[in-house]
Amino acid sequence: MLGAFVCYMLVVGHGMSYWPAFAIAVVAVGLFGAALDATILRRVIGQPQFAVVMLTIGLGAIFRSFASITWGSEIYTLPTPFSAKTTRLGGVTVSHEYVAIIVGTLVLCALLYAFFSYSRVGVAMQAASQNQLAAYYMGIPVKRMFSLIWAISAGVAAIAGVLLAPVSLIDTNLGFIGLKAFAAAVLGGFGSIPGALVGGVTIGLIELFSGAYLPLGVKDVAAYIVLLLVLAIRPQGMFGTVGRKKV
């Protein structure tokens, strides 16, 4: 949400062209994420899980409030180089905005996968996430790693926001689509990036068909119903693994 708003502010408010505004928005939100970690989230490392959960819930409420104060509660549209352009692809008309989203997502997923599996920083991040004390002993600067993780996470969220902005219209509740994304991740299975993609496509199809065939209103909550069903019946989703404490 913040990414989309910042980009809008730069493009419409200051008349910058799309790509530099995109880049600046992502970097700015990434830095903000790192700063957030350094000041606030660092203090709750090691506390039980619900403390962190509630902290992020509180922070989310603060950001939404801040956004509605700064930019008001109207809905904005973001002009992009892809707006209102379409191509005919084998009998189907595809809007460039959607193509941009698909291409962007695939590129991003490939980059993140390569980063976490093959680069030193990525592997160090996985280590820090699994056992912080041991990571310290191995010389990994855990605090800086976490700030970097938050920066990347915030940046990726900002990219998602900017990509989504032309399709979904910018308002303070943009972030709630993250819940549907969570449903997609759970359906595909945690720990599996291709699973998340498959899950996302499946949820999209389910929404489409429930909008066409099922009573009114089911379409909006179809993703959530799928989430609850998957969790109740097969929590590891299609491709995922479930972690467990070793005693």
Partner: protein, 380 residues
């Protein structure tokens, strides 16, 4: 320091630690009974505090004692409210039957939510409850025959056994009675094996299983009981606010309940009540601050000159009159409490008590929580 002298096992089984504590609670009861005489203008607000207390109790059982954090409890409140109103106003059932049926139905919904809860822990469970809340909100909007959808439906005042509870004072005592009943039932459960099993599930699921605790049964029970309390609270809530609409039971209300439990102090019944007082009083404080703070700022800055003073007043006035400010303040308080006072108001009260009772030997580290650094430890 006081050393309680115990003469039998029943001493530990009782609800109160010693006769002194019992007298304090009796005094508290007398106080709540005569409160309407002392502050007659606020009787309606205090009834809301009691209703919120019941809600806090419900979430405390689930999140504080069993360790299952739920972001969807406003949905249970809504189910209880709509069910009760439907039974009493549309079907004409007696009031008590309406409340009991509402609690039962909400308990059923709680069991439904409990099913995915058995497979997921921590933040994933919270997100699942959030999804449930959004589904239920949509159901409220679409199920016109029962809920009248977005138009909303007005709620009559309660009539129990032919006696009308329309005036504020009677409603106050009704809410107080239901709250005390809820407290008594919950305290009974918590000192019995069920309560111990819940605490065991919170602290170490695997050890609890090895000691014979059937995880699925007790987690589902926690959800069902918590939802039942919420359903009863929903019935009273419907009468209090007088008009039901789907957007009352939003995620923001769930966050307020969570705030109630965290601010009050997780893991104690007192915490639920402190939190309820805090959250019920907060909108009142905010609206008063909205009027006062710009004035004070204007006067303070006005020391430097009248123009600067009025400019400050106008700027601050415009800022605090924004509609989107309230959730931000809730979020801010939640964040501050988690960072600086994770044990909540009750925790702070316990620390103060301990300070005075062990003076001058008090150590700040007594309440420091164990930090777990391994992800597998937190995964449980």
């Amino acid at each position: 320091m006081r050393f309680p002298f115990k003469t039998g096992y029943d001493h530990d089984l009782g609800l109160f630690r010693d006769p002194v504590q019992r007298r304090w609670y009796a005094a508290l009861l007398v106080g709540t009974l005569i409160l309407p005489a002392l502050v007659p203008d606020y009787v309606g607000d205090i009834s809301l505090v009691f209703i919120y207390g019941l809600c806090g109790l419900s979430l405390m059982v689930l999140a504080g004692y069993t360790g299952l954090v739920s972001l969807g409890h406003a949905a249970f409140l809504g189910i209880g409210a709509y069910a009760h109103v439907y039974f009493v106003q549309d079907l004409g059932l007696p009031w008590v039957a309406g409340v009991l049926l509402a609690a039962l139905i909400t308990a059923g919904a709680g069991t439904l939510v409990g099913l995915p809860a058995l497979r997921m822990t921590g933040v994933y469970l919270t997100i699942a409850t959030l999804a449930f809340a959004l589904i239920i909100q949509e159901v409220f909007t679409r199920w016109d025959t029962v809920t009248h959808g977005l138009k909303g439906r007005p709620v009559d005042k309660p009539v129990i056994f032919g006696i009308s509870f329309a005036n504020d004072l009677a409603f106050y005592f009704l809410c107080l009675a239901v709250l005390i009943a809820g407290l008594w039932l919950t305290a009974n459960l918590l000192r019995a094996p069920t309560g111990r099993a819940w605490v065991a599930i919170r602290d170490s699921e695997i050890a609890a299983q090895s000691m014979g605790v059937h995880l699925a049964r007790y987690k589902t029970l926690a959800f069902a009981y918590s939802a039942a309390l919420m359903g009863a609270a929903g019935a009273l809530f419907a009468h209090k606010i007088g008009f039901l609409a789907p957007d009352i039971f939003s995620v923001l209300l769930s966050i307020q309940f969570l705030l109630m439990v965290v601010v009050g102090g997780l893991g104690s019944l007192h915490g639920a009540l402190y939190g309820a007082v805090f959250v019920a009083m907060l909108p009142v404080l905010i609206s008063q601050a909205r009027d006062q703070v710009p004035q004070w700022a204007g006067q303070a800055v006005g020391v430097f000159g009248k123009d600067a003073g009025s400019a400050a007043f106008l700027a601050l006035d415009r800022f605090v009159k924004q509609p989107g400010l309230e959730p931000g303040i809730f979020g801010l308080i939640l964040v501050l409490f988690i960072l600086f006072e994770p044990l909540g108001i009750y925790g702070r009260w316990r620390k103060v008590q301990l300070y005075f009772s062990t003076f001058p030997l008090y150590k700040r580290a007594t309440f420091r929580r164990q930090k777990t650094y391994m992800r597998s430890e937190r995964l449980r």
